[in-house]
Amino acid sequence: MADPLSTSRAATRTEGRRVSDFSIVVATANGTGSQTANLTLLRAIFQMGVPVHGKNVFPSNIQGLPTWFHIRASAEGWVARQAPEIAVAYNPATLHEDVAALPSGGVLILNDDLRGAPERDDVITYRVPVKELMEDATAKGKLKDYLANMTYLGVVTQLLGVSLDEVHAALENQFAGRRKLVDANYPIVEKAWRWSESTLQKRDPFTIEPMSATDGLILVTGNDAAGLGSVFGGASFVAWYPITPSTSLVDALKSHLVDLRTDEDGTPSWTVIQAEDELAAIGMVLGAGWAGARAVTATSGPGISLMAEFTGLGYFAEIPAVVWDVQRVGPSTGLPTRTGQGDVGFAYTLGHGDGKHPVFLPGSVEECFEFGWRAFDVAEQAQTPVFVLTDLDLGMNTWMAQRFAYPDEPMRRGKVLRGDQIPDDFGRYRDVDGDGIAPRTLPGDPNPRSAWFARGTGHDDAAVYSERPEDWQANTDRLARKFDTIRGLMPAPVVDAIEDAKIGVICMGSTQYAIHEARARLAEAGQHVSLLRLRGLPIGEAVRAFISEHERTVVVEMNRDGQLCGILRAELPDLAARIHSVAHLDGLPYAADQIEAWLAPHLVATGELVAEEVV
């Protein structure tokens, strides 16, 4: 099997030196524990001030199947997927493909103990005598195989011009300063580094040179950021069921709760429950939301399907809840360890019958943090289940980010009446303010007037069971009004409108990085494309304005059916004719050249490109 991310076979630019601008792939087998070496390499480059990003391409399996770790260093700061010029080949199972995938002019760092690597005289090869380098390592047995990953760390860093001090610092950071661990690993790195320095002679153009582009930045995964954001949103109840790629979000959330939300006497201000399945997880979250806690769950595609019925209850009984969907490739069980954006259409109207739900669409780890706390505010203000759709690429991979900003406003708990605030004529679903949102009361309130009976069945505005047509319609019309109020609560899109650009691109989530890079390239070629990055549904006026201002709008999304495009066409029928779809899903994050290729026909249509130029 071949590394799916190493697709380009075009010769790579080798004239002159390639300073801090290239991609590396490390090919190992799952379960061999190469992650430590990979993340250390990533961090070492980051420490040198060079913009860098890592993507882990792993199988849905625990041990033995091939896995590839991609690191892109880019002085210009590009982080989208890019076919690697440097390959570290440590996995016998994929040796052939890994070598074959290299562009001519590329670099191969080969575990010399592996046999049968294909000859590539158009590739610069460095052979690493792993066994030899491991010889006098103190560790024994299986642990030795594990530590063997440190050899390529040493060689690669040396070749790229990363000092041993940087590597050591990175290793310390990676091990959170745990001495024993550093001491077990570093000697091997050092040995390999010095061996490389003394024996290998650099023949390739790729180097890292110190910059200051990462000053003040952090390295973090989206799931970690989301967990942390939730904690700062006051998450107090978490129920979930394990599923890739959302599991690490809950793991992070829980460890941050332990760290930040446990009293001196050890009492937690939170409860995390591993439910028996996703139906139970969302049920628990709704029960907790009804009782007044800030409750959240995280899942992925299959879990969203199982949450359909309860989401409809939450919508109709009007109970706050936050649901994170770290999207993987669907339909069905699909590709659990690949990334996609295929749940947006389904989540937006989840549940039988009428109903729409607010959907946050974070596009960066910063937004994973921010929406982590904002989602609770919207859920409690609107008294409804709120979805946050991120994806595996954003959630599980390691990204550079600004230090997260502390919430700039107090927690918005929404309309909750307590004790004497509860009027004599209190009706749970009475729209006293005309915004479609009626004040609620919480169980446990001493005021006898506070009581109401939550239900998924038809009811009047006092929550009393009713089959009367006028009660049904009044109530659901109010829910529609409420949804309009919600428009004002969602984050505005990020718009980069280019003066008299004919084409506007609309995107969401993590695809923005490839799009930014593609737009920059197009701009160099004189083709200017505006961009609107949607950060939430329902849409507001800004989207209508953006589409109106452009001759043609192209909605780029990582699914097959063009789900977001369909939503926009349905909600903006008068503009639908101008709204075009670019929808592609194969499980891989987008690369800039894919975006360029997909936009080309549209540039041709608007006359900005002549057909011939399209390759």
Binding site: D263, L279, W290, G444, F453
Partner: protein
């Protein structure tokens, strides 16, 4: 404890009427009504504070009944079979609350069996009532999973499957309070309810609660299933004549009493003897099996053990319920955030 007279206020100054709910829309003679009445009586006698109680249910005739008692208590009529997850979340958010859950045999034994069993594992502190009539009442008389093997019903035909034994299920799931009552035995039911309300974790009471509309044995002469097929058009299962409650008020411990249901079919209820020791799970299982073998239904408190911590105890919650924590306590400080970020 002295029982206050209905019209007199009780220890918390409430009259029995204050514990009532909306008028019942269930069939006249339905066992579920009798249970609702006993809940009102018990809440009144114990002097429960309505605001310290939440009523929970799933979907079904039985699950409707929380609307008919404790009108001053908050309640949540959840989804079919999903009361347990709502309860788990609600009681986690506010572990000071006491939950009174009403479910049916279909709601708990069929669609809800998984959630029921996992609720018991977690030992969420609540009273879990299964109003057991062997049929799906609200959807008009299909077999529920608690229907006896071989039972013939006019609408549903013959049941080829062994019943789900609610009490046995509770026992193997580690439940610390397992009891069975009968809607018509008010005295026993009140005793069980009172004991259940003071239990540390989940207290399950399987309540035999006959359905007057659909639990009609085919071949029983008195059944109006019989009546229907002979005098009344069968299609017309729309005809549900009102019935009187079935009541037994002098059932002694250790005694077996045969009761006659509205359709004339009979049911043998055996009350555990006075000296029965409910502390052994194995014994409870065996007794259930023996009764079943004799075609009897064992009632009373079958198993009790309050050693296991409830969920909120297991997760170590303190005094303040999660739902009542101040924003300050819920959102860590600026400094705390900076400290975390420094690690990245």
């Amino acid at each position: 404890m002295t029982v206050p007279a209905a019209r007199q206020p009780n220890v918390v100054g409430l009259t029995k009427a204050d514990y009532g709910g909306r008028p019942s829309t269930l069939c006249k003679g339905c066992g579920h009504n009798a249970v609702a009445n006993q809940i009102v009586q018990v809440a009144f006698e114990l002097g429960l504070r309505p605001n310290e109680i939440v009523k929970l249910s799933g979907i079904g005739c039985s699950s409707k009944s929380p609307a008919y008692f404790l009108g001053m208590s908050h309640g949540f009529n959840a989804l079919h079979g999903r009361m347990p997850s709502i309860a788990t979340g609600a009681l986690s958010a506010n572990h000071k609350l006491r939950a009174l859950g009403v479910s049916g045999d279909g709601d708990t034994g069929s669609i809800g069996l998984g959630q029921f069993k996992h609720l018991l594992r977690r030992n969420v502190r609540m009273v879990y009532l299964v109003e057991n009539n062997g049929v799906y009442g609200l959807t008009k008389g299909q077999f529920s999973p608690t229907a006896e093997d071989g039972l013939k019903l006019k609408y549903a035909g013959t049941n080829p499957f062994p019943p789900v034994e609610i009490c046995a299920e509770a026992l193997v799931s580690g439940c610390g309070f397992v009891a069975r009552g009968f809607a018509g035995d008010a005295k026993q039911l009140r005793e069980l309810l009172k004991a259940a309300l003071s239990h540390r974790g989940t207290a399950v009471i399987d309540i035999i609660s006959p359905c007057v509309a659909f639990n009609n044995e085919d071949d029983s002469q008195k059944s109006y299933a019989y009546g229907r097929s002979n005098e009344v058009p069968l299609e017309d299962i729309g005809w549900v004549p009102p019935q009187d409650d079935i009541v037994i008020d002098d059932h002694e411990p250790g005694e077996t009493r045969v009761i006659e249901l509205h359709d004339g079919s009979r049911m043998a209820l055996t009350k555990v003897e006075a000296g029965y020791d409910p502390s052994d799970r194995g014994v409870a299982l065996t007794r259930l099996q023996q009764a079943e073998a004799r075609g009897e239904i064992l009632t009373g408190l079958l198993y009790f053990d309050d050693q296991r911590p409830s969920l909120s105890e297991a997760v170590g919650l303190g005094q303040t319920p999660l739902a009542e924590m101040s924003d300050e306590r819920l959102r860590p400080s600026r400094e705390a955030l900076e400290r975390v970020l420094d690690r990245y």
